[in-house]
Subunit: 424 residues, 2 copies
């Protein structure tokens, strides 16, 4: 049984690899036609998709999933409209494949070009939300990559129905139907098999909770690009504009607490803490944020009668994904940098300051994917950065760091044009 | 015992991580001063280094290593001069750290910069040649990365002596001495511990034989950039200049048969095989190359009285690293492309043709790190590509493909400059 399943997954990956070689040479127009066709099919098959989704929702209730989990799983007419629109938006983005990255002529006359090409076959391992199936499929397709999708069991019926439409869109447009394939089971044997197929699959992108990402990173022999947690810091420097600092911490903490670029940690320079913290604390409390404080910040909030609790050690490295903020006071800029490089997850950190030299030192020394100055951490995002779309925000340092758009879903190759050159 | 060793390696990696944060902010002048100091120390300590090397050479003879293996291990006065000179050359290369890759201003006024930064801590796992210890240390140092070096047991005494000079050069120049550390044992427990330290070490580069690279790729939870084998193809197209094709296959096969960009496989278009193969065959035989042929090419060589043998299936995917060439005849360009994408290792392939359309199709469709046209595969090399130096030639598709120079030893980060922007 499990041997047969492993063989089935291997065969699926072999077909993906073959499709990837064709897809790498397909024109932008042909890829866009397939995307437009998919958008049409999504609109035309809403009833079937909602029916499949209803099965997943019934299972979810039986299995006692939380209302928040069920909401993430739910397709509606308006969500389907948005999904179709997002597919058309990707069709309108520039095609990264074939872009000339650099060109040089060597002293021996060889002309060298480094050109962007698809990575090849990308495996995406994800949980719950059905829109991820479409998002990942269209981003891989536009960037010329074959995709192997392994969704979660909560969403199995919906994913299967969506994958059938993707296959149809590919076939209708004359592209290889194997260019996007959903693994037709959520059996762990299938996932484990996939993660070892390093001669056929070139990259694995896990999207989901920490335990999923950890499992994939530890079991894959294929290179993995992790989209890990965001323990993001806001640092209010001595030279901060206090109103700006208050606006930014409130925005970074409360505009969407459940996402990876939300702030979880506030550091305040000792010299401004007495004036800044009461104001900022009141603003945060008006948004129902729990404040978990070190002794020094607790004393200031207590004197101002602002509710707070004492932080424990693990709060200082926590990704709360909730209306909770850990607060510490630091002696100076260097202490802020040291604290961040030790306790953050390297995702997004911001300094609020009017002091150019302090900002530059912070941006040079903080070792994170995005280091901001006088702006909310919430801007670390593919759309906000102008990439047009994103498959996630990489917390790795190789290949892609921060938002991964279409270009980051590409590799490159070297083209060398000669006139018979041989090497000495 | 092995717990103590694991703790020792973890502690070494923690020191490397701390050093990497300092090194990332060090000026180009300070890094270059350390490199110049190292070059001086290498020249001043030749006697001590040769003494350490003599111990490794004595062990090598006791252990019955081959003359070729012993030669690779051997330091001489002239090799030491070359090594010191190569260190000075790296000092003269431009510093990739801090380079502005792109800059944009968003509609909301945010200024975005993507700037090159070191990866962080790089682990390099390698075998035999002592020059690798110096090469890797200086390339990591120049690109602002801390390096953890794990050399082979054949070279342990020499590596230890070289590492002591690196440490001294760092200390003498005011850089963190922990920026380059040699793992002080070749015990596999130490290597296995290193490969799991994914919160401290950001990239592993294995350099060596296939079994070493496979071991590292399968056991590492840290991202690995593989420098794998080169099963490189030369394709003589119907429209090839036959003299050029002959020169290129002779150069690609015989100029240095033991390296990864040497040709192992020759494909010949059916229409030119009758005229090309006897000429090329004679030229290759004059260089003592064994020709392993398919039936069609064997018949042509037999008719021309040129010695050859019948190929077996595995010859067609073999990396011989020796004066052996597998030869096949193909029906057309498409067959050449299909054969290469199935049987090559994706390293370096070249087409010899006067037909621009055929060349362009070959370069578009062949899925390899370097795809050449009328040039020898031997040019796929960091120096030949103008990168100034290389730590190896990546056969992976993520982060770096083909030669890895100083830029490819870097990541990037996003700097965002605002005036108080918050997100809607």
């Amino acid at each position: 049984m499990s041997d047969a399943l492993a063989q089935q997954i291997t065969s699926l990956a072999e077909r993906a690899r073959a499709a990837s070689l064709t897809l790498a040479t397909v024109s932008t127009a042909d890829k866009n036609a397939a995307l437009e066709r998919l958008a049409d099919l999504l609109s035309q098959n809403i009833d079937d998709l909602l029916e499949a989704n209803a099965k997943d929702l019934a299972d979810a209730e039986t299995n006692g999933q939380t209302p928040a989990q069920i909401d993430r799983l739910t397709l509606t007419d308006s969500r389907m409209d948005k999904l179709a629109a997002s597919v058309r938006q990707v069709a309108e983005l520039p095609d990264p494949v074939g872009e000339l990255i650099e060109e040089t002529t060597r002293p021996n006359g060889l002309v060298l070009q480094r050109v962007r090409v698809p990575i090849g076959v990308i495996g995406i391992v994800y949980e719950s939300r059905p829109n991820v199936t479409i998002d990942c499929a269209v981003l891989c397709l536009k960037s010329g990559n074959a995709a192997i999708l392994r969704g979660g069991k909560e969403c199995f019926h919906t994913n299967t129905a969506l994958a059938a439409l993707i296959t149809q869109a590919l076939s209708d447009s004359g592209l290889p139907a194997d260019a996007v394939q959903l693994i037709p089971t959520t059996d762990r044997v299938a996932l484990n098999t996939l993660l070892k197929l390093d001669t056929l699959v070139h990259c694995i992108i896990p999207r989901g909770g920490e335990s999923l990402i950890r499992f994939v990173a530890q079991n894959s022999t294929i290179p993995v690009i992790k989209h890990y947690q965001g323990v993001c810091f806001v640092y209010a420097d001595r030279a901060a504009d206090l109103t700006m600092a208050e606006n930014i911490i409130v925005n970074a903490k409360t505009s969407r607490p459940g996402v990876c670029n939300a702030a979880e940690q506030l550091l305040v320079h000792r010299d401004i803490a007495g004036t800044f913290l009461p104001e900022a604390g009141r603003a945060l409390k008006s948004k129902h944020v729990e404040l978990r404080c070190d002794a020094a910040s607790a004393a200031i909030l207590a004197a101002a009668d602002i509710p707070h609790v004492a932080a424990i050690e693990k709060d200082y490295t926590a990704e709360f994904l909730a209306p909770i903020l850990a607060i510490r006071i630091v002696d100076d800029l260097d202490a802020a940098i040291t604290t961040i490089n030790r306790d953050s997850s390297g995702h997004s950190e911001t300094i609020i300051t009017g002091d150019d030299a302090a900002a530059k030192k912070f941006q040079l020394s903080v070792d994170s994917a995005a280091v901001l100055w006088n702006a909310s951490t919430r801007f670390n995002d593919g759309f906000e950065f102008g990439l047009g779309a994103e498959i996630g925000i990489s917390t790795d340092r190789l290949h892609a760091r921060g938002p991964m758009g279409l270009r980051e879903l590409c590799s490159y190759k070297w083209l060398v044009m000669g006139t018979g050159q041989v090497r000495d």
